[in-house]
Every structure is written in structure tokens, then in C-alpha cells.
């Protein structure tokens, strides 16, 4: 029993925000509420089976292509590049943007062992090289790593004939799109800094 228990605890602590204490508490909860727990697990497995990555933008989705990529009501000529799915969500919530997305799945960060090859940059170049987009809006986070990623992409895209813009205003360096309030982010998107 002890062994099984510690195995579960160490598995649970792999979740973000869950320390040893919470994991222990959760384990006891699961044991005491077996029916409820099984329901939870069924929905987790269900969820994991259903949701995968959209083969175009990379976002999590239950359909492929995802709802945004397959929508006919969205502008097909503008592409917004973001670091994480949560950034896409933050921009969608502003309601100010109606174009396409591309998710990099992170930023360039050698300190954490993440180089350009670990991001969805190859996929991005494939999407943009045919010249279907008139404008690419790069919305990496206003951090040093986000800035490096932006500059790197800007260099790569320089020889493709496309207008590149960047959102910059309003969000202080060191911030994050995910946590920027709706108003600030919305305004930032509308007043793109053209370069």
C-alpha cells in the first residue's frame, strides 16, 4: 500500500502547482471518493483522446483543422504568431482580432535548452512561403526571450514579401500576454507597431 501510495503522490506532483502536501491530500480524497474519482478519470481520458493539436496552427482542438483555422468568417490574409495556446485565448478574448493564428509552443530560450528547432518555426515558414498572407503580426510576450524570438522570426521572414508587424504598446517588459488585461491587450492589437 505504501509503495502504491508514494507512486501516486510522485505522479501527481508532476502537475504544475501541486506539491507533496497537496498530492497527499488529493490521494486521500481519491481513495475516499472512489466513484467520483473514477468519473474524473473517465473525463480526463476522454478529454485526452479527443483533444489533439490542430495540424495548421498547432492549437489544442477536438477537430483538425481547428474551429479557427476552418472558419470561413475569418480573415485569411493576416496571421498572428503567438508563443502559447493561452496567448491565443487571451487575444481571442479581446475580440479585436479576426485573422489566422500560428502557435510556436514556447519561445527561444537556450537557458532552458530550447532553441529555434524546438519550436514550430519550420511549420510557420511552410505556411508563409507561398505568399498567402499579406501581413504577419508577431505577438510574442514582452519579455527578453519573447523579444529575441520576435527578432529571430523577423530576420527569417525578411526575404518573404510580407508585411511584418508587432504588438508592443501598453504591455511593460517582463509582462505576459496571458495576464495582460483585456483592455490593454485589445488596444495593443489595434495600434500595432509597424516596422
Amino acid at each position: 500500500m505504501i509503495n502504491d501510495f508514494t507512486r501516486l503522490i510522485s505522479a501527481l506532483t508532476k502537475l504544475p502547482g501541486i506539491g507533496k502536501k497537496s498530492a497527499t491530500r488529493l490521494s486521500y480524497f481519491l481513495l475516499k471518493n472512489k466513484d467520483k474519482s473514477k468519473d474524473i478519470f473517465i473525463s480526463i481520458v476522454d478529454f485526452l483522446d479527443k483533444i489533439s493539436n490542430c495540424s495548421i496552427c498547432g492549437n489544442f482542438s477536438s477537430s483538425d483543422p481547428c474551429e479557427i483555422c476552418s472558419s470561413s468568417n475569418r480573415d485569411k490574409k493576416i496571421l498572428c504568431v503567438v508563443e502559447e495556446p493561452s496567448d491565443l485565448l487571451a487575444i481571442e478574448e479581446t475580440g479585436c482580432y479576426k485573422g489566422q493564428y500560428h502557435i510556436l509552443m514556447g519561445n527561444i530560450n537556450p537557458l532552458e535548452g530550447k532553441g529555434p528547432d524546438n519550436l514550430r518555426i519550420g511549420e510557420l515558414l511552410k505556411r508563409t512561403k507561398d505568399g498567402v498572407f499579406e501581413e504577419i503580426l508577431i505577438a510574442t510576450n514582452p519579455t527578453i526571450e519573447g523579444e529575441s524570438t520576435f527578432l529571430y522570426l523577423q530576420n527569417l521572414l525578411a526575404d518573404q514579401n510580407v508585411k511584418i508587424s508587432k504588438i508592443a504598446t501598453g504591455i511593460p517588459m517582463g509582462g505576459s500576454l496571458e495576464y495582460a488585461d483585456k483592455y490593454t491587450l485589445g488596444r495593443a492589437i489595434q495600434s500595432k507597431n509597424y516596422i
Partner: protein, 367 residues
């Protein structure tokens, strides 16, 4: 600023400390034998400034031996009543500012300002370039918040670049990006260092002549490590790109503002080889006084001064002159271990004497 009360549990040798200061208790003299906790007390008063000690110790070492936490609280006046409390337990600290829990430590910086004068300050004048850079980075950050952010961002890019250079088969295009970002910050930092050191050097000379009463001039010179004819972001970038080969060989970044240096001169000669001990001590005291003055000048804050055994090396004439300079501050704390120094403070009408006995602070009557 004015400290109204301070309390501590399990901080250094203070197992249970509580003390209040009355409004007229502005010039506070702590007289106690060696090893009783005078420096510890100043350390406590300093801690709230940057949430760390001014001595090179970890927070764990501040806990009273045998205990597992410390908890401290300060109540101070800065036109309004403010309170900061810190509890350190299990390697993490909980900081509360005016009843609000602080998420990022940097939120607290600038709320409570103190300047400590310690024996290590000699290193500002005589220390290695690293020590001097650290001092001036903090010093200039008080003058200009953009300087602070530029240094922070510069260090961030530098770390990424070093991580990249460690890896032998790295992306050349990425190195170019990092050099581009570095050039941007180097340009800002170098210009500001140049500008600020000119102002500071003048202040330094004026004060040195006034308090030191010497006939020689004193100055500070800034030596940027990147030597090019014209400093523009573009030239700096080109310089960094030319240096790539060497940096790749070394496996870390070798050129940039993290290699800059400063030099203190007396009579146009280096303090290290020319000045006497007392002259060097005075130079370090003056640098700290200018730092304190800058809080006033640029931020309209009168910081708490904490002086730890630092005026001992001055002769009596210069002691008096120096002390008269710090009388203008709203509050200062000074440690002494000798009665003969008391005469210097005679002119003050805000004197208060403290002593430390068995980890407790108490008023003392030896005036």
C-alpha cells in the same frame, strides 16, 4: 524616513526584540562591547530595503541558532505610516506591506530606503571591478529607473547568449540576434554610466575637498571595456560581431558592459597605490553619502543611514566634519564601541543612546 518601531523574533541573536523610537530620537548611537549584536541590529534595519542582508550571508544564517524561522517587522514614517513584515521559514519568505501580501520582492524596493556604511565599503574604492560595478549599478539605479531595467535586461540576454555559446553546434543566426539585443542595452548603459559618473565625480570632488580639506583633487573615471571610436548602437553591434570568433572559442561572452571598470583617483593617482587608509575610508564614506543624497535629489526620500564602525579611522577633525554632514538626515543609527566618540555628537539635539544586553535593546544613560 523615520523608523518608529522595530521588532524581531529569532533574528540573529535577537530572540525577542521590540523597540519604539520617539519623534525626537533621530540621531541614535548604539554603544556596546564587541560581539553584542550592534552590526546585527543595523542588519535588521537594513533588511527591509532589499529583503536581504548587506553582509554576504544567506537568509538561513540570519535565523537564531537552533530555531527554524525568523520573523521581523518595521513600522516607519514616510509622510504616511507604513509597515513591512517578513517571515522566513522553510527557505521561503512571506512579505507583507501595509497588510498586503507581496508577490514579487521587487514590489517592495523603494518603499523603505536605507543606506548602510560598513567596513566593506573600502572595496568600492579599492575592490575588484566586479565589486565596483555592483556598487555603481545600485547607485545609478537610484538616479534612473531606466538604468535599472537596462541592466536587468542586459543580464538576461547575456545569460541566454552564454547558454548558447556553451553549446558547440549553435545557431549562428541566434548569436546575431543576441548581439543585436546586447548592443541596444550596451548603448544605453554606456551612455548613462558616462553621464552619471561625470556628475558623481564632481560631487565626489566637492565633498572630498570640503570634508577632507586636502589640497588635491579627487575624481572617478569610467572605463568602458568596449573601445571604439564612436559609440552608436550599430558600431557596438558590429564590434560584437567581429569578436564572435574569440567568444565562440572561449565559450562565453567576453565583451560588454559586464567587463567595464571604474577608477578612483586622488591627485590624479590611483587610490589603491597612493592614498592612505584614512583617505580611502573617507572616500568610501563620501560615496555612500552621495548615494544617500541621490535618494533625496532624485526620489525625494530621506533614507535611514546605518553607520557601522566606519568613522573610527578618521582623525577627530574630519570625524566632526563628516558627522555634521549627516545631521541633515531625518534619522541615522551609528555604532560605536568607545566613549571618546560621544563628544562629536554633542551639537545634536536629537540624540538617543542605546545599548544591547543579552539580545535586548535598551536605552542607556551615558550621555
Amino acid at each position: 524616513m523615520f523608523v518608529k518601531s522595530i521588532s524581531a523574533t529569532n533574528f540573529r541573536n535577537f530572540r525577542n526584540l521590540e523597540f519604539c523610537f520617539k519623534e525626537q530620537e533621530r540621531h541614535i548611537i548604539i554603544k556596546s562591547p564587541n560581539g553584542t549584536g550592534k552590526t546585527n541590529f543595523l542588519e535588521l534595519l537594513y533588511y527591509f530595503t532589499y529583503l536581504k542582508s548587506f553582509r554576504a550571508v544567506s537568509d538561513g544564517e540570519l535565523i537564531n541558532k537552533g530555531e527554524n524561522y525568523f520573523s521581523i517587522l518595521i513600522n516607519y514614517d514616510n509622510d504616511e505610516d507604513n509597515e513591512i513584515s517578513v517571515k522566513y521559514l522553510n527557505k521561503s519568505k512571506e512579505v507583507v506591506y501595509n497588510n498586503k501580501k507581496i508577490k514579487r520582492y521587487s514590489e517592495i524596493f523603494g518603499k523603505y530606503c536605507s543606506v548602510v556604511f560598513s567596513s566593506d565599503d573600502m572595496l568600492i574604492i579599492k575592490g575588484n571591478p566586479n565589486y565596483k560595478r555592483k556598487f555603481f549599478d545600485m547607485f545609478f539605479s537610484i538616479i534612473d529607473i531606466e538604468y535599472f531595467y537596462s541592466i536587468k535586461n542586459y543580464n538576461c540576454v547575456l545569460k541566454q547568449k552564454n547558454a548558447l555559446l556553451k553549446n558547440k553546434s549553435f545557431d549562428k543566426k541566434l548569436l546575431e540576434i543576441y548581439n543585436y539585443q546586447l548592443a541596444q542595452y550596451i548603448n544605453i548603459i554606456q551612455q548613462k554610466r558616462d553621464e552619471f559618473i561625470k556628475i558623481t565625480s564632481k560631487d565626489f570632488n566637492d565633498k572630498y575637498l570640503e570634508i577632507g580639506d586636502y589640497n588635491y583633487s579627487a575624481k572617478i573615471i569610467y572605463y568602458p571595456s568596449i573601445k571604439i571610436k564612436e559609440f552608436t548602437q550599430e558600431n557596438i553591434f558590429n564590434f560584437l560581431m567581429e569578436c564572435c570568433k574569440k567568444e565562440v572559442e572561449l565559450g562565453f561572452s567576453f565583451y560588454g558592459v559586464h567587463k567595464d571598470n571604474y577608477q578612483f583617483l586622488l591627485n590624479n593617482l590611483n587610490f589603491n597605490s597612493y592614498a592612505s587608509f584614512g583617505q580611502t575610508r573617507l572616500a568610501s564614506l563620501i560615496m555612500k553619502t552621495i548615494q544617500a543624497d541621490n535618494y533625496k535629489k532624485y526620489n525625494n526620500i530621506s533614507p535611514i543611514l546605518l553607520l557601522d564602525d566606519v568613522i573610527l579611522e578618521l582623525d577627530n577633525y574630519r570625524k566632526v566634519k563628516f558627522v555634521s554632514k549627516i545631521f541633515d538626515y531625518k534619522q541615522f543609527f551609528i555604532t560605536i564601541s568607545d566613549d571618546t566618540l560621544l563628544k562629536i555628537f554633542e551639537k545634536s539635539s536629537y540624540l538617543s543612546f542605546l545599548e544591547i544586553i543579552d539580545g535586548k535593546i535598551q536605552k542607556s544613560n551615558f550621555n
